[in-house]
Amino acid sequence: MTKQISLTIDNKKITAPEGANLLQVASENNIAIPHLCYHKKLSPTGACRLCIVKIENQRGLIASCTVQVSDGMKVTAFDGELEEARKYLLDWLLSEHDESHDNSYDDAFRELVHRYGLDKKENRLFPSIYKELGYPTDESSPVLSYDAAKCIKCFRCIKGCDEVQGKNVLSFTNRGIISYIIGGFDNWGESECDGCGECIQLCPTGAIVEKPHRSAINLLNGIQKVRTTCPYCGVGCQLELFVQDGKIVRSNGVEGVSPNDGRLCVKGRFGYDYVHSPERLTKPLIKKGGKFVESSWDEALDLVARKFSEIKEKYGRKALAGYASAKTTNEDNYLFMKLVRKVFGNNNVDYCTRLCHASTVTAMLRSLGDGAGSNSIEDYAGSDCILVTGNNMIETHPVTATFVKYAVQRKGAKVIIIDPKWTPLVKDAHIWLQPKLGTDVALLNGMLRVIISEDLIDREFITKRVDGGLQAFERLKALTGKYTPEYVKAITGVPAHLMTEAARVYARAGSPLIATGMGYSQQVTGTHNVFCLINMMLITGQVGRRGAGLNPPRGQNNVQGVSDVGASPFTYPGYIPVEDEENLRHIARIWDVPFESLDSKKGLSTIEIMQAAYEGSVKGMYIMGENPMLTDPNLNHTEEAIKRLDFLVVQDIFHTDTTPFADVILPATAFAESEGTYVNSDRRVLRVRKAVDPPGQARQDWEIITEIARRMGSPLGNYRNESDIWDEIARTAPIFAGISYDRLKDQGIQWPCPDKDHPGTDTLFLEQFNTPNGLGKLHPVDYAEQNEQADETYPFILNTGRILYQYHSSTMSRRNKALTDFANQAYVLMNPGDAERHGFTQGQKLRIASRRGLIEPIAVKISNEVLPGELFMPFHYPEAPVNRLTRDEMDPYSKIAPFKLSAVNASPYKG
């Protein structure tokens, strides 16, 4: 622990940690030393000189932001000389400064000018010369404007971009009085800037301001600020929404709280337009004569209840199913799950996790006993080795990636990437292994063999913490024996020396973290891939302590929470299996239903529900906030399945690719219109708060669900609000037992949190694993060839994935000008060699076909980001629905589909 020392500032006695920043210490003790360039997230700059102080026995006026406190230090922060010097410095800065102001941003400089009386021209020494200096503005970025005449050259933007976001896009041009900040070649819009807006949030003078909605902002006129959680990926960034006249006009990152400490990505900062889109669903719609007709809530809800009841009556309780939603709150999903289990009377409830990390969760549950990330997002910053497998984290979890980049760029950590496709993190990587698609098990077994043959294993850990100890290890050793570097290279294409180096770096690291993504999970061998990762982690003992472990960053805002609260065909809240009789009795008591009425057999999973609809055993379906007609695999099959349903209800905020097939469409609320909670990728329960009213007659998801249940004659309970629902969740899920809304006011809490005094758990598996015997389990698995291979007719293997500027099926992200200005077009990536061989030119329109379907036209982007023989397409765009091409073959353990591997061919589009 850091030693506490004593110092005085203006004769006030202060205790502080030795070595702490003097300006920060003063600020925390309510001594407001003026400053502009200092920010506690950034390294001290000492550029503005306003924070000057006098320190006994030191010469001159010293910038306090550059001083570390020591014992006995005597500091003068305010006296006549210091104040005069500050006023002089401000006066001088002011002479180069455009003082106009539109009240749309906080201006720390302006406040100081006022504080020192320099707003009165007669108090100034220097004339204003900014106009003569000819400072430029830069309006080229889609999301921000820069005005050099308002810039005080404090370096905050440059350092924020570099030190906080790890992007280092900004710099100065020219020198002396005419220098100013630039992105790119003095053209922000054509620079490497990805629009995260960290610089906007850190700018103290309004020189860098956002473009979207700024004209609507007047900070002097009734701005309401609402703290909530970002609706995009599973990082769970804490947002402060600015609301003016009932509309969101700004989104800032909340400083000083986990997981993001003020950081956001472009989606979190600029992706809120969709909430106020005129295309929002505002009234219930009922399909009559093939057309949707507006209806009252009563008519729509009665119809839904009647139809579901009729199907249950006619075909039995197994004929109904539901897709819950990773986008809505825990409270919504808990009640949705309760409706399916209590009212439908079966376990046919699942959601998009089955298409996402189901295999990771399955492997982790079987081996480690918990299906969630073992560590905290901020732990990446302190890691010395980060193994990133099939995970384009800079684009899919941009804020998590900032911690990884920090570790590499500031602390010398080594990143090892396993990915057939180039990702932006490769720039920071120590090693990039590029195995052919679908060969990961062979590669990892090769790495295991290196670790075993070079004796980089942790015998003590294996003996104490692994089920079967060294005997189990011997079985793994025997299996991996044949994976020699030559054998692995023949399968994967990865050079032996790189694979060997990667295995050594991981095994020897002090606190390595594995970040595994869709590239590993979305395969028929998804569970096997993660078994291999876990095998490697267990035999090297790289888990069970702070800063070491395995973490799957979750793709959507609440994909973790929906599983946690039991919207799964296999588990009740808290991952308790549906077959667990004791739990069923416990739940039956809480729900006030006969124990026998609860189905104790596993339900159908996401793809199985569609297959059952296709085969006719599922007749009625309730889809909340999901868009399977874009995101399910093998869409032609999915479409046929959906068409065969007797009755489909879709509850959403927009028309989607799925709503045309619905019989009833129910308008629900967006994140900013809801109260509740999400759980992020590091198991942190985070509050979601209502900032604006829903449009038209749109209703809260949970209210719609309770109404349907009531009208089906089986009320779910008397919930006054979301907090009541949460309290019931906490009673059903032991991992949440100690969490209540009052504890979530300022910070999230990481589960498991078993009682009210428990602080939450930042690291899993410290003492033992969560398996029945507390031991981790090895699962030696062999490489198996994929069922679908490239052949003469379908010579390419197609990979699919995500990009930074779009999100999931793009229903939200595409309704934001800022995001679509950056990226709004589908494409297929192809290796230059392949393009040349086929005679394709950059941007040419192609036709891509698989055994299951085709997409045309789609522009080809020729790039060595993909290996020869492999293609890549983003899955966001409805006009290029990549899942027409993918397969619905399933991983036998987790039922996930192989989105990452489809054999296709490419030919010129003929128009």
């Binding site: 041009t173 070649f185 003095d186 490497e192």
Partner: protein, 164 residues
């Protein structure tokens, strides 16, 4: 004499240097010297940034920090008039005026034939023989109008010879 770099493309010039950030200035000099119009094109800056793994803004920042680099096309001969205090005392202002008259351009401009660009410079370190002017790499001292005319005439003559 033909510059041996002149026949090389941007990428070839860049790859003569190791891809290390400390080579940035050397690369920029080589690129500028190689260009017949004595300047750094955006393509050159872009290729340099990519080669060294630097953000575009860093390369641009360096290129604009140093006055010896230009981002706009210039003449084959860069005439730099020293504006240090000593040269000022020795009528550097008059040198500038004379050169502007002789070349028919104002400071910062390039002659229509692409021969000369007139620029100002920080101290050339020739105070003992002020006023001074530097033309490309060569320094001329103790200047008056006659001497300046002679220098310009000489360069034009040598260029004609070279063209023949």
């Amino acid at each position: 004499m033909t510059n041996p770099l002149q026949l090389m493309c941007t990428q070839q010039i860049i790859e003569q240097f190791a891809p290390e950030q400390h080579n940035l200035l050397n690369i920029l000099h080589a690129l500028q010297d190689n260009h017949p119009q004595n300047y750094l094109t955006e393509q050159a800056l872009d290729d340099t940034a990519r080669y060294l793994g630097l953000p575009k803004s860093s390369v641009y920042g360096v290129a604009t920090y140093y006055t010896m680099f230009s981002l706009v096309p210039r003449g084959r001969y860069i005439v730099r008039v020293c504006t240090s205090v000593v040269c000022e005392l020795h009528k550097a202002g008059r040198v500038i005026g004379s050169l502007e008259n002789m070349l028919g351009i104002t400071t910062g401009e390039t002659t229509p034939d692409g021969m000369f660009t007139l620029e100002l410079s920080e101290c050339l370190g020739q105070c003992q023989d002020a006023p001074s002017v530097m033309v490309n790499e060569k320094v001329y001292n103790n200047l008056d109008d006659n001497r300046l005319a002679e220098i310009i005439h000489q360069i034009r003559g040598s260029q004609k010879t070279a063209n023949r």
